[in-house]
């Protein structure tokens, strides 16, 4: 019944953090999620925390998150996801949008 919390840690070569100090994107609507990215001194590592009502799909979560972190060479970064039953495609898309927002040059929303 309780919420499912998943934690992942990564270390990639020549990692890159985000331009902004932090960035937030998305709304925890049905089938959607919010992503919070924060610059952190993790010695080049990336930590990801997922909170979701979904159980039994931990492997899928790991695949989606791993592909995103490794594919973008991310490091010194904390990523937190509050999910409400989003599909893997939506998760991937929101992560990419959040990263784009986090690297936006002009002063954006927050």
């Amino acid at each position: 019944m309780a919420l499912n919390e998943l934690n992942f840690k990564y270390k990639v070569e020549n990692p890159q953090s985000i331009a902004k100090e932090y960035s937030h994107l998305g709304v925890v609507g049905s089938g959607d999620l919010e992503v919070l990215m924060e610059k952190k001194d993790f010695g080049g590592g990336t930590e990801v925390k997922v909170v979701t009502p979904v159980t039994g799909f931990d492997k899928v979560w790991e695949m989606v998150v791993t592909k995103f972190v490794k594919g973008n060479n991310l490091g010194d970064l904390l990523i937190e996801i509050n999910d409400n039953n989003a599909t893997p495609v939506v998760v991937s898309m929101r992560l990419r949008q959040a990263l784009a927002e986090a690297n936006k040059k002009e002063k954006g929303g927050e």
Partner: protein
């Protein structure tokens, strides 16, 4: 997220709570209180296995409109229908409390010119009322918001902005009605019992919730405008609401008080006359009431664009205000 300039042209119904909060005050002036980075989710949802959000479905913060500090509360309908739980409610209450504190501060600091710097509270409603997962805490939050609105009476204006998809229903319908000024768009909806709930309790003959035209001409902005439940009707853009807020901010407080629909013996009597009318008129549809108030061809008003509607629509005449 869209820039402030893009937001002004964006449809109010298509923006999220954070974008609305950002776009309802002067460019670049919005600062969020307890932002997602502060991580304040509901403590009750995890034990129920329900998804949490770091802002608990409401964005609060402060911005400026001209010289006036504006405390913004913006609800997010996509998070559990914008329903009010413990954290969500506490954020609303604290925003109004801070506005009252700012009122005292401004008065002390600018004894001669405080009126042009008077704070205001803007609440963008998008909610179905109490979050049933947190029933008691949610109910209490409603009472506390009501309390704060009463404390603000005669000091700072509380302005309701209603134009989002979910509308303003349930207990928050009362709260919306208790504000000083109500600004709506055609797409905004205000009521107590939502259409689906009426249908579920009283049957499809009483109210057909799948009949969108019926739902909108009963609870929507145009009807509320004709009935004077909404003081202003604006276009469905963030800029439309922002510009109307700017206009309201220019008015002296005595003028703003006149927009109130409830809150005094005289106003209650005025409302009771409407109850009497409802019985006497025996209206079957809101269009019957529109006709009663002098709109010869009420069906025409339904599909009319907002600009033309504002020109031709005849409203209930108010005795007070």
């Amino acid at each position: 997220m869209l820039s402030w300039d893009e937001l002004q042209k964006a449809k109010f119904t298509e923006t999220n709570a954070r974008e609305r909060a950002f776009g309802l005050v002067d460019k670049g002036t919005f600062t969020e209180f307890v932002s997602p980075r502060d991580r304040m989710p509901s403590p009750h949802l995890p034990v129920l296995g329900e998804a949490i959000g770091y802002d608990d479905g409401v964005v609060t913060g402060i911005g400026l409109i001209g010289k006036r500090p504006v405390f913004v509360v913006s609800q997010e309908g996509r998070f559990i229908g914008g329903a009010v739980g413990e954290v969500h409610g506490a954020k609303m209450v604290q925003a109004i409390k801070l506005a009252l504190k700012a009122y005292e501060d401004v008065k002390e600091k600018y004894p001669d010119s405080y009126e042009e710097r008077l704070p205001a509270v803007v609440i963008s409603f998008e909610t179905g009322g109490v979050r049933l997962h947190e029933s008691n805490a949610g109910l209490l939050a409603h009472a506390e918001v009501m309390d704060q609105i009463q404390d603000a009476r005669g000091k700072i204006p509380i302005i309701a902005v209603i134009g989002s998809k979910v509308g303003c229903f349930g207990g928050m319908g009362f709260v919306g009605a208790a504000t000083d000024v109500v600004i709506m768009s055609e797409q905004g909806r205000l009521g107590l019992t939502g259409p689906e709930v009426i249908e579920q309790e009283m049957g499809k003959d009483e109210f057909d919730a799948s009949n969108k035209a019926l739902v909108f001409r009963t609870t929507g902005g145009k009807h509320k405008y004709i009935m004077q439940d909404a003081n202003f009707l604006v276009k469905d853009t963030v800029g439309g609401f922002y510009q109307q807020l700017q206009e309201v901010m220019k008015l002296p407080f005595a003028e703003i008080e006149k927009f109130r629909r409830i809150g005094s013996k005289e106003l209650v009597e005025e409302q009771l006359e409407l109850v009497k009318l409802a019985v006497e008129l025996g209206a079957k549809d809101s269009m019957d009431v529109w006709k009663y108030y002098g709109n010869e061809d009420p069906a025409k008003l339904v599909d009319m664009g907002p600009e033309e509607f504002l020109k031709v629509a005849k409203r209930r005449e108010r005795k007070l205000g």
